[in-house]
Amino acid sequence: MSKMHVKLKVNGDEVEGLAEPRTLLIHFLRENLKVTGPHVGCETSHCGACTVDMDGKSVKSCTVFVAQAQGADVTTVEGLVNPDGSLSVLQEMFREHHGLQCGFCTPGMITRAHRLLQENPTPTEEDVRFGMAGNLCRCTGYQNIVKAILAAAEINNAQKEAAE
């Protein structure tokens, strides 16, 4: 099968490359673009380690062909840092609350939690658990992940209020 010319936006930059249509988005990101934040976990749409933000949706990039992502706007955990390169509030809270143990699931967790907080800036604990249900942590660190996300929501909201 011949390769196609793929063009999409990744973390704000226009990127392009040649890839077979069957190439999965996760492999295009990691192997062609060397964007290795999103991880290959189960590769069967279950674990969420490969989660990226695509056109404002949390998507498992192991279940999207790069051809389908043609023209899309993709953000990975690398793209969530502050403009000066420092950790975002959400990333900082994962560190603060020990929201990771081995860290393998963390890029997917943070990318998914980012979208969750965009859609629901004031989630309850139940909202967080329901909204994070597509991401697995095999260190079973859910408690601290939920804490980190709730703490990030609180800080974001306090900052927003202070700015108003």
Partner: protein
């Protein structure tokens, strides 16, 4: 976990999409969200040479709320069903069911059209569509036809849609005001298909009961609905359970599935009755 190679197409109108299906016959498949098809392609259980992506066809999107009927474009995602306020007001059972499908990431991408058209007995929407008496619009080389959801499913993965047709739209009659509803699903874990699931409507317009993943098609039972409408809950449960035909698999043996079917159906009936006005 790399699928076999294929050529990718992204048509922007229905005529081109159908043209591709005609040109490539059974070598071609359409893809909506792809969260059923792509895993099957990775396992090499689905093989195709031409993938026809429907995402560029604007007319397959959108939710139209009419006074009596609701029309939902096939490419509407589960997440769009969940977040559409007007739809949740008019047919709250749709949101209740969609929230129990897979996980958040899958719901952003998975579509109602793919869910109903694939013919997978594990999918939740086909049984719900039968419960609601929805109909599907399919477009093919010979034009458009409408097929009742209750007539659509022949056996697992075999439906009334032919290979050269594309399911474009779903039409639902609005349930009468005051209709009680419930979608109850037992699953082993988030993201799993149902061990057993039941959709129940009860109200001034009558009652309707359908069950999911308990046969090789969804099971809608006219007798069960009639019994419930007449106030006979036990009659409704036994009619519905008589219509199912579960098979043993990793979700359990047949007797267990029949037991779970009874449990979810009773819960769904109780909740629907408690939500019905008057």
């Amino acid at each position: 976990m790399i699928p076999a190679g294929f050529e990718y197409h992204r048509p922007t109108d229905m005529a081109s999409a159908i043209g591709l299906l005609q040109a490539h016959g059974d070598e071609a498949r359409v893809v909506a969200g792809g969260h059923s098809l792509i895993p099957m392609m990775k396992l090499r259980m689905a093989s195709l040479s031409h993938l026809v992506d429907l995402q560029g066809i604007a007319e397959l999107r959108g939710i139209e709320l009419g006074a009596d009927v609701i029309r939902i474009g096939a490419m509407t995602t589960q997440n769009e069903l969940i977040t559409h306020e007007g739809l949740a007001q008019a047919v709250p059972i749709l949101r209740e069911a969609a929230l129990q499908i897979a996980d958040p990431q899958v719901r952003y991408v998975g579509t109602i059209g793919g869910n109903v058209a694939n013919g997978d007995p594990g999918n939740d929407m086909p049984g719900l569509m039968q419960c609601l008496d929805a109909s599907y619009e399919v477009v093919g080389p010979d034009g458009t036809r409408t097929i009742a959801a209750r007539e659509f499913y022949d056996s697992a993965y075999f439906t009334a849609r032919s290979d050269e047709e594309i399911l474009t739209r779903i039409t639902l009659p609005c349930p009468a005001a005051g209709t009680g509803y419930a979608y109850e699903k037992q699953k082993r874990k988030i993201g799993d298909y149902a061990t057993a699931a039941a959709a129940v409507l009860f109200g001034p317009g009558g009652a309707s009961i359908a069950m999911t993943n308990l046969a090789d098609t969804p099971v809608w039972s006219a007798e069960a609905g009639a019994a419930l409408a007449a106030g006979d809950t036990e009659g409704a449960v036994s009619a519905a359970l008589a219509a199912i035909d579960p098979q043993e698999d990793m979700r359990g043996p047949i007797e267990f599935k029949k037991h779970v079917a009874g449990v979810v159906l009773r819960r769904a009936i109780d909740r629907a009755l408690s939500r019905a006005a008057g």
